[in-house]
């Protein structure tokens, strides 16, 4: 899915830039459920607030963009199908490959056969070499930046002890030894591509369905960083003209796409044209979609309705709004350098006013209280890990007493400041103070450097806000990257382990999970690992974000599902 980081920052920026008095929303008088499958044709507009950082497949790491490109321009070896059933929607189906891959050597080797008859937008066939070239690009860590880099740690290429990175440094410049190692790690035999990994990767198909890192890429189209906004399609649409970072782009039908070569059933490609419109604020988008006139009748958006607009979502407008649980979770990390006494950490968890946090953030349509850092839609979720609720101040006070510390115990909480987050933080403060703490709120106004600051090993806050979305629907992309001290903690940075958490018991369970060759065993170890985190109170889960999005009245077949990261699924959406 997405590195949550980008999305979190975009959200926060939105809130702080909140503008515009609401225009009067006219009901419009049109009534359409928007659920029946529509006919082909028409123009769909997709409103997005902030500019995309990349459209390059190997550099795409935002959940919304991943699903948009999967359904329109970038086909994958395997993909997640459109489905209301979360399990089906997160089970890969063959796309550019003929099957979902065969593994051997305890999931260290994966083999796929490329489907015959699949082509690029210029009519040339997609070959095994294109896949191999695509997989080589993330190794150029100085050029192809911003995307997922799991392949660097998994692919069987020796590590350069000086840089800590693989000796292969990408297709643009690499040592002969590096290139040779890469050629051995990914091999092509006719239409069959084989990946050789260092360690077991039982959920490899999940990873490549959820991300675009292993997508094919045409070597003759690659201009390195200059290709950042290039879109060379192999899906049902192609880009008309060029992509404009500030305003977006228009997609028209790709004449060389053959529906017969696509068995996923998830690319109905109903609209003749899809316009990505970038640059309007969430408030403006909500105003326009409530008014529902002109091209906005055939519009969808990736932005949630701001809470102050909820009271306007009534009557016919309400029938055009959909609310879904998103794959994104927010949580508070406890700084282990500052709070070493586990009883104090338990007291923090006990007095966390999660209900207040959710209410201050806009209530039930904005957030859901979280019981686990792992999202409910992800394998390994445990609903009873944390109690959530309004907190238990009495228990917290008792724990502080048992800890033998002086009360009120001083506590600082840091978070990226915005109108909404300031209120949410105030709610947490009130809960913690009732539980025997004296809280100082450190709202950080500079959103761009928030994560850089909390990664600093010297950072002095006791409790730290952070957000995360699983990269693919397995807990291995949640707790392991966030709390495994070995890849994270270095003298210069805490990596994603913002609290500096270090536990050999946890790390051992992660090793066992990563070493498992089947998914169920892996999930079992990850759940045990998560229980270790909960026992140590390494984090306190705060919320699961809810997406609450409007659409125009002429939109048909509207759907948001697990396969589309809860964003509008362009595979089935059409216009009247």
């Amino acid at each position: 899915m997405a590195s949550y980081r980008k999305k979190a920052l975009a959200l926060v920026a939105a809130a702080s830039m909140a503008t515009a008095l609401a225009a009067c929303g006219s009901g419009g008088g049109s009534s359409n459920s928007g659920t029946k499958a529509g006919a082909t044709g028409g123009t769909l507009t997709y409103y997005i607030k902030a500019a995309l950082e990349h459209t390059d497949p190997q550099r795409t790491y935002v959940g919304r963009d991943i699903t948009d490109w999967s359904r329109t321009v970038y086909r994958q070896l395997v993909t997640f199908p459109v489905s209301d059933d979360p399990t089906t929607a997160t089970t890969p189906v063959p796309d550019l490959a003929t099957n979902t891959g065969t593994s051997s050597d305890s999931a260290k080797t994966w083999q796929f056969t490329i489907r015959p008859g699949v082509t690029w937008q210029d009519g040339k066939a997609i070959t095994c070499a294109d896949f191999k070239y695509g997989a080589s690009r993330p190794f150029a860590t100085d050029v192809v930046t911003g995307g997922p880099n799991y392949i660097l740690t998994y692919l069987d290429i020796p590590i350069d002890s000086k840089t800590g990175l693989p000796i292969y440094t990408g297709p643009y410049k690499s040592s002969a030894a590096g290139t040779a190692a890469f050629n051995k790690a990914i091999t092509c035999a006719g239409n069959t591509i084989t990946y050789h990994f260092k360690k077991s990767w039982p959920d490899f198909p999940l990873a490549i369905a959820a991300l675009h890192m292993m997508d094919p890429y045409r070597q003759d189209k690659d201009q390195g960083d200059k290709s950042n906004y290039q879109i060379f399609s192999n899906g049902p649409y192609e880009l008309q003209g060029t992509w404009d970072k500030e305003t977006g782009g228009t997609f028209v039908r790709n004449p060389n796409y053959k529906a017969s070569s696509d068995t996923t059933g998830s690319r109905k490609a109903l609209p003749n044209k899809i316009i990505f419109n970038i640059g309007k604020t969430s408030e403006t988008i909500a105003d326009q979609l409530i008014a529902d006139s002109g091209p906005d009748k055939a519009a969808v958006t990736g932005q949630s309705i701001p809470p102050s607009y909820y009271s306007q979502i009534t009557g016919s407008v309400a029938s055009r709004a959909a609310s879904v649980v998103s794959p994104y979770t927010d949580y508070a990390v406890i700084n282990f350098k500052r709070i070493t006494n586990v009883k104090v950490r338990e007291a923090i968890a006990a007095s966390t006013n999660d209900t207040g946090w959710v209410t201050a953030g806009g209530g039930a349509k904005s957030f859901k209280e979280a019981h686990d850092i792992v999202n409910p839609a992800v394998k390994g979720y445990q609903p009873d890990l944390y109690p959530a609720g309004a907190g238990d101040p009495a228990k917290s006070k008792q724990l502080l007493q048992e800890a033998g510390v002086k009360t009120p115990y001083p506590l600082t909480f840091t978070y990226p400041s915005s109108d909404t987050m300031d209120k949410q933080a105030a709610a947490l403060k009130q809960g913690w103070e009732a539980g025997g703490f004296k809280v100082t709120l450190e709202g950080v106004a500079d959103q761009d450097t928030y994560y850089t600051n909390i990664q600093a090993p010297a950072q002095k806050d006791d409790v730290i806000w952070a957000g995360w979305g699983a990269d693919w629907p397995s807990a291995i992309t949640v707790t392991a990257p966030l709390f495994d001290s070995r890849p994270n903690l270095t003298p210069s940075s805490n990596g994603q382990d913002y609290g500096g958490y270090k536990s050999s018991a946890f790390n051992a369970l992660v090793d066992q999970a990563q070493g498992s060759s089947d998914l169920d065993a892996q999930t079992k170890y990850l759940q045990q690992a998560d229980q270790v985190l909960a026992k140590d109170v390494a984090y306190v889960p705060l919320d699961t974000q809810i997406f609450y999005m409007l659409r125009g009245s002429d939109v048909t077949g509207y759907k948001t599902d697990a396969a589309s990261n809860s964003y509008p699924d362009l595979g089935v959406i059409g216009v009247k």
Partner: protein, 336 residues
């Protein structure tokens, strides 16, 4: 050979044509005369009372917070409707006897407490920024007007330069770095109200002095030719003495008027800057940051938006009218 008595009388009355009752003028200082004129102006008196009420309220607020009458941070989330974006459940922003102006959406904090306490912070910022601007403006104005020559030219260009500076842009661009820099010299961290408020005061004040300098310089140009200044100079008085003991006491009228006109400008500047994310952040309330938060709710919860906007409008208008009234009273020759 001499004029008749009746002619004398006519001349006398002609000289004092704007004095209704000559007896009333006798023995009154210019200050008393000005006060008299001010008292007769009803609008000025009303605005003076309003400003006085705000000031007394601002002075009392910290005390009222301490004794628990105002609770600017206590949350009552049970008064909110969580299925409608956490806006208050009842009409008029959730107004009730215990929360006469309603509660804040999201947190359920008493709006009256936030606004009342917010006035304290807003007025403090405006006052401090005004003082910075007035002190710099007056000193530079006196020096510039009295010294003349190269000093006057340099200060004049400095005024031009400051006026041509994109002030708002700079305030925004440097805000995070500026606040961090301020926090280094102050107790507390960069997210504290103190550092943020200090930065705001500093920048508002440092960009606010040029008009005052120009005004004061004009006044000084007329004063420096007066006999008492000549006399002081002939006695060998130091420059400092001439500036601050001879000239400054004659400038209190324009300084006072400038002050009452910069105050409202800075009160609205504080609100505008809050909207742009500069200045004191919640949970510490200011009129500006309460208004900024309420703008989002202008449709969903209108009364929450209405009260801060109204309070800012009243205080800004009152200060402006007060300033106008003072100017009229102190300088009756100015055209209305």
């Amino acid at each position: 050979m001499s004029q008749s008595e009746s002619q004398m009388e006519r001349l006398d009355t002609a000289d004092m044509v704007d004095v209704v009752d000559p007896e009333a003028v006798l023995g009154k200082s210019p200050t008393q005369l000005a006060l008299g004129r001010f008292r007769r102006d009803k609008l000025s008196m009303v605005s003076f009372v309003v400003v006085a009420v705000y000031t007394i309220g601002a002075l009392l607020a910290p005390l009222l917070v301490k004794i628990g009458f105002l609770k600017p941070e206590l949350q009552h989330q049970n008064l909110l409707n969580v299925s409608l974006g956490s806006i208050p459940k009842t009409h008029f922003g959730g107004a009730s006897w215990s929360h006469p102006l309603g509660v804040v959406p999201g947190t359920g904090v008493d709006v009256m407490s936030r606004l009342w306490y917010g006035i304290t912070f807003s007025l403090t910022i405006a006052l401090a920024a005004s003082l910075v601007a007035i002190v710099i403006g007056t000193v530079l104005g006196i020096v510039s007007g009295f010294a003349g020559g190269i000093v006057d030219a340099v200060i004049g260009r400095l005024v031009d330069l400051t006026l041509s500076f994109p002030q708002t842009l700079m305030l925004l661009a440097l805000s995070s770095a500026g606040v961090v820099a301020c926090a280094k010299f102050l107790p507390g961290s960069a997210s504290d109200p103190l550092a943020n408020g200090f930065y705001e005061v500093l920048v508002l004040g440092l960009f606010g002095w040029p008009p005052i300098t120009r005004l004061i310089r004009g006044q000084v140009l007329t004063i420096r030719e007066r006999e008492f200044v000549e006399a002081a100079r002939l006695f060998g008085a130091s420059k400092g003495r001439i500036y601050f003991k001879e000239i400054l006491p004659n400038l209190w009228a324009p300084v006072l008027v400038s002050f009452t006109l910069t105050m409202p400008a800075y009160i609205s500047a504080e609100a505008a800057l809050s909207y742009l994310g500069v200045g004191i952040h919640p949970p510490t309330p200011t009129l500006g940051n309460v208004l900024t938060d309420s703008i989002n709710y202008s449709v969903a919860d209108f009364s929450y938006f209405f009260y801060p906007a109204l309070l800012i409008a009243i205080v800004v208008v009152s200060f402006n009218l007060l300033g106008d009234g003072l100017r009229d009273a102190l300088d009756p020759k100015a055209d209305r």
